[in-house]
Symmetry: C2
Subunit: 317 residues, 2 copies
């Protein structure tokens, strides 16, 4: 989800728009500037987020089977809960489908929603269904926080920057589709069946993760959000970024969005032991990609020296 704290967003026109809008709401808008909103309900604290998926913006007809669309939209929303280390409780879905969709497509879509929810320990609470001339899926997720969430704003100069999994698969899948070819199967699966890192996030919180964000806009863009929220600079070494096997050049992995991996800051020295145990626990790499420094923004720096930021990619660009 986007944010409601004016100081904690990275650069970009979309974020300027949200800032402008929420500034006008004044005290009627609350929120913590994180992947989720945090809401006290009695003695409990909930994390809430919503994630909107629209045909033509996030995918094109033919890229995703309905069951994959349901999974993917739900996984994207659940990933926001992972980013703050909340335990998923349930989901609500608002769905628009074209009138010409076969009956079973909607049921397939909801089956994907249900599978993704179940995989994260959540249930489907209900939703809204309307007709439109393109497919829209909005997924609202609610999770329970045990104690404090992990925020974007906790990174400190000297911390190490780590990322789960490997990056670049979704970029390669979209690039193949846009070129009129079929993607590599494993790259395609990273786009169609992303895995929200819910259990991984709880584990990483226990190991001292000080700041966290999910990689939805791309590694460099999301590192920028984390840096802005924490009031620090972030340095990423492109040579250390863990690449999906289908990646051809590292820029693809730096820009690839909708990865739903976790980017996090760990205290100095905490990561090396954590990485081994993490791999053993989850069969997934945990890789240091950079460091947190005083300053602002994101720099790319190889051991041989600074490099220019690649152009950032939005949806389909």
């Amino acid at each position: 989800m986007s944010n409601t704290e004016h100081t904690s967003l990275g650069p970009g026109a979309e974020f300027d728009r949200i800032r402008q809008a929420l500034a006008r709401l004044g005290p009627n808008a609350v929120g913590a500037g994180d992947d989720c909103a945090f809401v006290e309900v009695g003695a409990e604290r909930l994390a809430l987020s919503c994630d909107l998926t629209i045909e033509g913006t996030h995918f094109r007809a033919g890229w995703l089977a309905p069951v994959e669309l349901g999974w993917r939209a739900t996984a994207a929303a659940l990933s926001d809960l992972a980013a703050v280390a909340a335990r998923p409780l349930g989901v609500l879905t608002s769905v628009a489908v074209p009138a010409e969709w076969p009956e079973e497509h909607f049921a397939d879509l909801m089956e994907g929603v249900g599978e993704a929810a179940r995989s994260a320990g959540a249930v489907v609470w209900g939703g809204d269904l309307v007709r439109a001339d393109r497919v829209v899926v909005d997924v609202l997720v609610a999770g329970r926080l045990d104690g404090e969430p992990v925020r974007r704003s906790g990174a400190q100069a000297g911390d190490e920057l780590w990322v789960t999994g490997v990056l670049g698969g979704p970029f390669r899948a979209v690039a193949a589709w846009n070129a009129g070819t079929e993607p590599d199967e494993t790259a395609r699966a990273r786009f169609t069946h992303p895995v929200p890192r819910v259990r991984e996030a709880l584990w990483l919180k226990d190991r001292g993760a000080r700041a966290m964000i999910d990689v939805s806009d791309g590694l460099v863009a999301d590192a920028g959000h984390l840096a802005a929220a924490s009031g620090v600079g972030v340095v990423i070494d492109p040579d250390r970024v863990p690449l999906h096997p289908a990646v051809e050049v590292v820029d693809e992995a730096l820009a690839s969005g909708e990865e739903y991996e976790l980017l996090l800051a760990l205290p100095p020295g905490a990561g090396a032991a954590a990485a081994q145990a993490f791999r053993a626990a989850f069969d997934l790499p945990l890789t240091q990609v950079g460091v947190v420094e005083q300053g602002a923004g994101v720099q790319l720096r190889r051991r041989s020296g600074p490099v220019n930021l690649p152009p950032l990619f939005g949806h389909f660009r």
Copy 2:
């Protein structure tokens, strides 16, 4: 919101689709078949709902200023909380806007969201913003329940069927736009600035409302949902339906959706005194439109005898 209980939905292809989809989710789908999902959080009980508004389905370009769109989408979702007599806490919004929208349009839209939320005692928790080629607004609302919600399923044979406000304004507004003319100003306001009956609902619950639903699909259609959920039949007298002044024939008021008035069942004899006090408290009519009987479905019956159901109207039909 639509429903997750298979037995409590009225007729119609949309509802068949939801039934089919949720049947396949099995025990992974929960819900009470009401306007909201009910979720226990610690000692609290929340009502949650989401409501999706899409350009081309719910409105066309030029019908609504952005601030009106934000209000309307939020009011529609808040009305689901009213329907179960929940106290609104907050809203999340997922918004898609075209790239060519002026910057201030999105801020205006969010101002409308904020105004509607504030009018109902709720705050804006945050949201998601993406670009698309048409406007999409999904609003998630959460409210707190004091004790039991008022459900759709509580109507009993012998109850009286009452409705708040006057009906038909939104129908007339859409009809005027579809005819290429400007609507009557008060009819237009019923479409652009619907008022969720949040306080009215709490009041009606205290006066013994046994079953309630908001009029979003149209009086006859929503009476059908209530009848199906309660396992009863409903009889509506068209001559008793309170008409918006712009209404030309009563069928318009029977079919007019997106009214966001409340349709409710009161125990026999409870309504007459309630109606006077209701009008004094809210400056709004509360009108008996029919009765609840044994049986199933909705019948229209004048004192002079039965009449045929008018064709039901979906969006723009």
